[in-house]
Each structure stands twice: as structure tokens, then as C-alpha cells.
Amino acid sequence: MTSQAASHAEHDPNIGITGLDHRKMGMWAFLGSECMFFGSLIGTYLSYKGKSLSGPTPHEILNIPLTSVSAFVLLMSSVLMVLALAAVQRNDMKWAKIWLFSTATLGAGFVGFQIFEFTHFVHLGLTLQTNLFGSTFFTLTGFHGAHVTGGVIWLLALWALAVRGKLGPEDALKVEICGLYWHFVDIVWIAIFTLVYLIP
């Protein structure tokens, strides 16, 4: 925030009595709700763990090294997101564009990994209908993937605005909110990766 923006804070209709921006607070409320959403999905996965009546089982099919790479890609995208926000805040729009686009690219890369993983599993005989593992695994990771996809679209939209010269430091908050969402989706992946892939 520039000092000029700060002096305007009392007139800014988006800043409330707490001094926080409505939109940021709204995003936090949304993320709280998302915690319950993924909590319920993860709970479903865990309560059905090992209850499948037939194969394939997780350890027959999950490729931990490959998924570690994709998890690493997603984690790195969070770093780029931080850089993108910093660039927007200091009005360095050239780098902002680069970082926004590369964050989106890494995110898309993660989704690409997931599409590959899903098709590979289908070839190995695991589908949504095969067994409880298939139902819970595809639903949980699929919803996470859908969230990442949504984030990629959001990032690309911000990038497109930046390309058209319609994104500046006064929009830093919009980028920051997108970043909150992006980091959240990342953290959820850490939880899913640990619980689904790493813990036997």
C-alpha cells in the first residue's frame, strides 16, 4: 500500500471498522468454509481407507516419486505467487506479468500431471466405479484439481488484465486475495499428498 492509499483508507468503502479490507476478510471466510469442505472429503477418504472389496489398492497403483514432482511443482508455484504479488505492489508490471503467468503455468503443469495420472490409473483398471478406493481417490483429488484449475483461470485473468495495462499497484489487493486462495489450495495438497500418498 502506498502512503497515498493509506491516507485514503478512511474513505475507501472497502475498508471497515477493523481496518481490514472486506474482500480479504470475505476470502478468509470462504477459506474457512473450504477447510470444512476438504475436511469432509478427506474424512470420507480416510473412513473408507482399506475397505475396498476388490483391487487395485493404493500401494499397487500410486506412483509416489512422480507425484512428488508434481507436488513440488505446485509448491514452487506458491513461491512464484509471492513474487508476483511483490512485483505488483512495487509497480513492476513487467515482472508481475512474468510471475503471474509462470504461476499459472506451474499450476497448469500440476493439473496436467493429474490428468496424466488419472488416465494412467484408468488404464491400470482403476476408475470411479472400480472400488471404494477409486471412488474416494478420484473424487478427493479431482476436487482438488478442479480448485487448482479454477486458480489457474483466475491467475490467467489477472495476467490478461496486466497485459492490457489494467492492473496496477492499486490492484495489489486483488492479487493478494488470489494468492491467499492459491496458497490455500497448495496447503490442501500437502495434506492430501501426505494422507493419501505418503501414509501407507
Binding site: 472497502n14 471498522i17 470475505g26 471466510a29 468454509s33 470444512m36 469432509s40 472429503l41 471412488s135 489494467k166
Partner: protein, 618 residues
């Protein structure tokens, strides 16, 4: 998100017609009226459904409606009353009253607010469209798996139900985010959390429940949808799935939902009683804390809906204790309300009648609730008419009486007209009489073994007479609602003479004109007490002098007020979303097309004020 653009109050209806101004409104007061009107219409729909059911049960072996129709009726009655009547009626008060009570000019996200309403309406219409196609949902409002699977419910009935609830859930979630932020961020200067009016407090807790409880049913419904559309095995016993998973997910949502339905009414009663007893709420902090406790414990008691499924003695005991525990803050509230009346000068106006009716009836519902908090007792009472009686004492005797208290209380603020007192009291007494005649005998019917959700019963079980009485009572309720409608019509034809403060009330909304101007407060007030308006008029009652009304506001000051302009993107986005969701029943191409349209509308919605024509952001 929230907008920066300048907008002259009172200009919205000029360029286009009145209808257009309502379709594009982002004014929280108008949205409140939209919510309230829709909710009342669906309340009537749900009521007619109930009347048909009562007629069918009026005598044994009756053949007025068949089993299929009856099962559809009780499913839609429950779903309608919970999601399309009580929740939006509460939402109507959130919308209209919260900004007025916290001294704000609107909610935090006015366009999102409009979007919540349009999506609510989309979901409500979608759900009821199932009647037109002859496939009304028929698995109960609780939709227990695996009766809802394709195998046992092959028609589109459950699809309508699942998709309808998903749409409604999204609306509730968005409204929840909006009001969490509104209440935290838009309070007038000086209004600390503990100075917030009780209605705002109870609504605040409700918003947290909405935000945190709805995801559970969302996931439950997604799994059901996947089972039905894609053949997953979540609730399929043949594939190792456990139908009880649905019950857990449903009640993790479902029990907080009960408090979502009752807390706003508790808030209303906590406003009405002090006004008409002319005394502050007795022990307001305790009432607030107990509201928070109820919300908190509300997440830890869901399995008391499942005592009969066989969770084992340890789980039964734990959930029984938690359920008993939640009775403590509830009981405390009732005593605090009585403490509010104690030593007051109680003025018997219609809103107070309904508030007293709330306490009297809710107490009964609460006490019968304690009975089935004990699992052994619950094993006899669950799924009988005793439970039907219990939750109608809570949701009708509680929520509906409380909401009517709010309607009579705030009607003059919203319309500038006082509802007729004589008709109001007729309404109250008829409703009280009809309600008790309908539901009190159902305690007895349940105790002599009448199960829920049966469309017929044998004549030799002793159930006939009191079922008949119950049916008669239901029609008395219907008459009382007619009296209310007559009252509304007559009142709206009279001149608006209520004045700003007809009840000599205590909170900020009464300090502004009735109906309030678009901008609510010409000058945002500064708050020093929980009852700021009372303080201005009468002082604190402990020697503190009345602080007096603030100085009048100049025309120039009013001219400088910026209000958000109307927007047609909320309704378009809602329509696109409905188009996408209904595609799930028609064709995948419609889903894709609808999805693209939704995405497009979302962008337009998000970027509507990204770079306002006027230039700078502030």
C-alpha cells in the same frame, strides 16, 4: 466485489421501469423484501403440502392421496419449510435489519447479496419444478442413503432434490460470507462486539454455522450425485460403501442447521422483549455467550439423530452428554428472557405476544428435546410423532413465532405502517390455538406408537381421534395465516402513519425514518451502548441524561453520500448458473454451455467496477 462508483440515492427507478429496478437492485433493504416475499410464498406452499398430509391422516385407511403422493408431500414439506421458508425469512431480516442495526449503509458486498438472492430463487424454483414434471422428491428431507440410490429411486426425483439443494447451499454460503464480513467490518464507530444488538449477535453466530456447516452437506450431496450419475460406491453396500456415511455428513450439517433456524428467532425475541418491557435485556452478555456456546456445541451433537443406528454404547453416551450440555445455554436464555420481563412495564402489543408465544412454545420443544437426548428414551421416541411434535414446537412454536414477532415488530420500519393490532391479536391467538391443537396431541400419538412418514394406519391402534383433532388444528393455523394476509393487505392500503419510532424502541434502526432512505443513515452514528437509541431518548436510567438526537443533516451532506448503483450481472449470473445446473438433467452440452456462460458472467461481474469510467478507484 464491493464497488466504488458514485450513485445518487433514489435515482434507480427513473431511467427504467419499476420491475427493472427490482431485478437489478443491490439495496440490502429491497433484497430483504425480495427474500421475505419469496419466503412467505414458499411458506404458503409448504403449508398447503402440510394441510393435504393432515387431511390424508385425518382418518385411518384414508385414500385421499396415495403413498407416492404422500411421500412426495412430506419430503417437499420438510425441504420447503427448512430451506425455502424459515431460512430465507431469517435471511430477509439479516438483509433488512443487520445494516440498520449496526449503523451501516449497506452490506459489505451488495452485488454478491443480490446474487445470493437470485441463486436462492433459482434453487427454489428448480426444486419445485419437479412437481411440474411429476417427479417430486420422495425420500424425505433427510434423504437417507441408500434409498436415494439409482437402484431404489430410479426417477429424476432425487436428482431434482440433490441439484436443488446444491444450488440453495451455494446461495446460503455466499450470504454467509457476506454477513460475516458485514457484521465484523461495517459496524458504526464505537459499536464494539459486545455493544452489538442481540439480533445481530445471534445472526452472527448463524453466519458462522452457515459457513462451516454447509460444506458437510455439500460433500454429502456431491457423493450422492456421483453415486447416481457416475456409479461411484460411496453409499452402495454392495460395493462396500456404508449408507451411514450419509447420515454422518447430513447431520454434521443438519444439527447446526437446527440452530441456523432457531438462533435468528432467538435474536428477534431478544430485541422485542426489551422494547416492550422497556428494560434492557437481562444479562445480555450471558445471552450472547450462550448463543456462541450453542453454535459451538451444535457441531458436536450430530449423532443424537442416530441413536437407533447402533453406534455402540460409548458413542451413544458421549453424544448424549454433549446433547444434554447444549440444553444448559438454551435454558439460560429462557431464564434471561423471563428476567427481562421481570420488573418491567410490559406493553402487550402484537410483537410481544408472538415473542411470549415463542418462549412458551420453545420451552416445550426444548423440554421434550431433553427426553430424547437420553438414548434409551430416544429408542422409543425417534421416528415417531413424538419427535414430529418436538421439532414443530421448536421450529414452528420457536422459529415461526419468533419470525412473526419480527414481522410485526419491524413492519412499521419497513413500510411506514403499523399492522393492525386487533387483527394481529386474532392472528396470534388463532395460531397459538391451532398450533397447540395440531401438535400437542402428536406427543401422545408418538407415545402410543405412531411412526413418522406413514401415509396410512390401521383403525385398531387408537390413533384415529387425535389425528383428526390434529388435522382440525392445522386448519385453524391456516385460518390464522389468512388473518395475517388480510391484515397485511388492509395495512398496506392505509396511510403510512407509523412514524420513525412507534414502539419507543432501543436500537439504531428506529432512529431513522420509516421506511429508511436508500442510504439508511444520513450521518453514520457513533455508538456508546448496546441500546444507543434509548440512551439518546431516555438516558441510561442511572442518572445519565439523555444524550439527545444528533443535529440534522444538510442536503449537501446527503448529496455527497455514495451508494452502489444497480447491476444486472447478479441476476444474469444466477440465470446462467441455473441453466448450467439444470443441464445435469438434460444434456452434458447444456452443462458445458451453461458453465461457459456462468464463467463469462462471473468475469463481467468481477470486472464491472474494475476500472470505473470516472477513473480513480476511490
Amino acid at each position: 466485489m464491493a464497488t466504488h462508483a458514485a450513485f445518487m440515492p433514489g435515482t434507480e427507478a427513473k431511467s427504467h421501469g419499476v420491475l427493472w429496478s427490482w431485478l437489478t437492485t443491490v439495496d440490502h433493504k429491497r433484497i430483504g423484501i425480495l427474500y421475505g416475499t419469496s419466503a412467505f410464498i414458499f411458506f404458503l406452499v409448504g403449508g398447503v403440502e402440510a394441510l393435504i398430509m393432515r387431511l390424508q391422516l385425518a382418518r385411518p385407511d384414508n385414500t385421499l392421496v396415495g403413498p407416492q403422493a404422500f411421500n412426495e408431500l412430506f419430503t417437499m414439506h420438510g425441504t420447503t419449510m427448512v430451506f425455502l421458508a424459515i431460512m430465507p425469512l431469517s435471511a430477509s431480516f439479516f438483509n433488512y435489519m443487520i445494516p440498520l442495526m449496526i449503523g451501516a449503509r449497506d452490506v459489505a458486498f451488495p452485488r454478491l447479496n443480490a446474487l445470493s438472492y437470485w441463486i436462492f430463487l433459482a434453487g427454489a424454483l428448480f426444486l419445485n419444478a419437479s412437481w411440474l414434471f411429476g417427479v417430486a422428491p420422495d425420500a424425505g428431507w433427510f434423504g437417507y442413503a441408500n434409498l436415494t440410490s439409482r437402484q431404489f429411486s430410479p426417477t429424476a426425483s432425487i436428482d431434482f432434490w440433490v441439484l436443488g439443494l446444491q444450488i440453495l447451499g451455494i446461495s446460503s454460503l455466499m450470504a454467509g460470507f457476506n454477513f460475516v464480513v458485514t457484521i465484523i467490518n461495517l459496524r458504526a464507530p464505537g459499536m464494539t462486539l459486545m455493544r452489538m444488538p442481540l439480533f445481530v449477535w445471534m445472526s452472527f453466530v448463524t453466519q458462522f454455522l452457515l459457513v462451516l456447516a454447509f460444506p458437510a452437506i455439500t460433500v454429502g450431496l456431491i457423493l450422492l450425485m456421483f453415486d447416481r450419475f457416475f456409479g461411484t460406491l460411496f453409499y452402495a453396500p454392495a460395493g462396500g460403501g456404508d449408507p451411514l456415511l450419509w447420515q454422518h455428513l447430513f447431520w454434521i450439517f443438519g444439527h447446526p442447521e437446527v440452530y441456523i433456524l432457531i438462533l435468528p428467532a432467538m435474536g428477534i425475541v431478544s430485541e422485542v422483549l426489551p422494547t416492550f418491557a422497556r428494560k434492557p435485556l437481562f444479562g445480555a452478555p450471558v445471552v450472547i455467550y450462550s448463543g456462541i456456546m450453542i453454535g459451538f456445541f451444535g457441531f458436536g451433537v450430530w449423532s443424537h439423530h442416530m441413536f437407533s443406528v447402533g453406534l455402540g454404547p460409548v458413542a451413544d453416551s458421549a453424544f448424549s452428554i454433549a446433547t444434554m450440555l447444549i440444553a444448559v445455554p438454551t435454558g439460560v436464555k429462557i431464564f434471561n428472557w423471563i428476567g427481562t420481563l421481570w420488573g418491567g412495564t410490559v406493553r402487550f402489543k402484537t410483537p410481544l405476544f408472538f415473542a411470549l408465544g415463542f418462549i412458551a412454545m420453545f420451552t416445550m420443544g426444548g423440554l421434550s428435546g431433553i427426553m430424547h437426548a437420553s438414548p434409551p428414551v430416544d429408542l422409543q421416541q425417534t421416528d415417531t410423532y413424538f419427535v414430529v411434535a418436538h421439532f414443530h414446537y421448536v421450529l414452528f412454536g420457536g422459529s415461526i413465532f419468533g419470525l412473526f414477532a419480527g414481522i410485526y415488530y419491524w413492519w412499521p420500519k419497513i413500510t411506514g405502517r403499523l399492522l393492525d393490532e386487533r387483527l394481529g391479536k386474532w392472528h396470534f391467538w388463532l395460531m397459538m390455538l391451532g398450533f397447540n391443537t395440531t401438535f400437542f396431541p402428536q406427543h401422545y400419538l408418538g407415545l402410543i406408537g405412531m411412526p413418522r412418514r406413514i401415509y396410512t394406519y390401521a383403525p385398531d391402534l387408537g390413533w384415529y381421534f387425535w389425528n383428526l383433532v390434529s388435522t382440525i388444528g392445522a386448519f385453524v393455523i391456516a385460518v390464522s395465516i389468512l388473518v395475517f394476509i388480510v391484515n397485511v393487505v388492509r395495512t398496506q392500503r392505509s396511510a403510512p402513519t407509523a412514524g420513525d419510532d412507534p414502539w419507543d424502541a432501543r436500537t439504531l434502526e428506529w432512529s431513522i425514518p420509516s421506511p429508511p432512505p436508500v442510504y439508511n443513515f444520513a450521518r453514520v452514528p457513533t455508538v456508546r451502548d448496546r441500546d444507543p437509541f434509548w440512551l439518546q431518548k431516555h438516558g441510561d436510567g442511572h442518572g445519565g441524561k439523555p444524550t439527545g438526537r444528533p443535529a440534522p443533516v444538510s442536503a449537501a451532506e446527503i448529496k455527497a453520500i455514495h451508494m452502489p448503483p444497480p447491476s444486472y450481472w447478479p441476476i444474469l449470473l444466477g440465470a446462467a448458473f441455473l441453466f448450467m445446473m439444470s443441464g445435469a438433467l438434460i444434456s452434458i452440452y447444456q452443462v458445458v454451455l451453461g458453465g461457459l456462460l456462468t464463467l463469462y458472467c462471473m468475469f463481467r461481474f468481477a470486472l464491472e467496477y474494475h476500472r470505473p469510467a470516472s477513473g480513480g478507484g476511490h
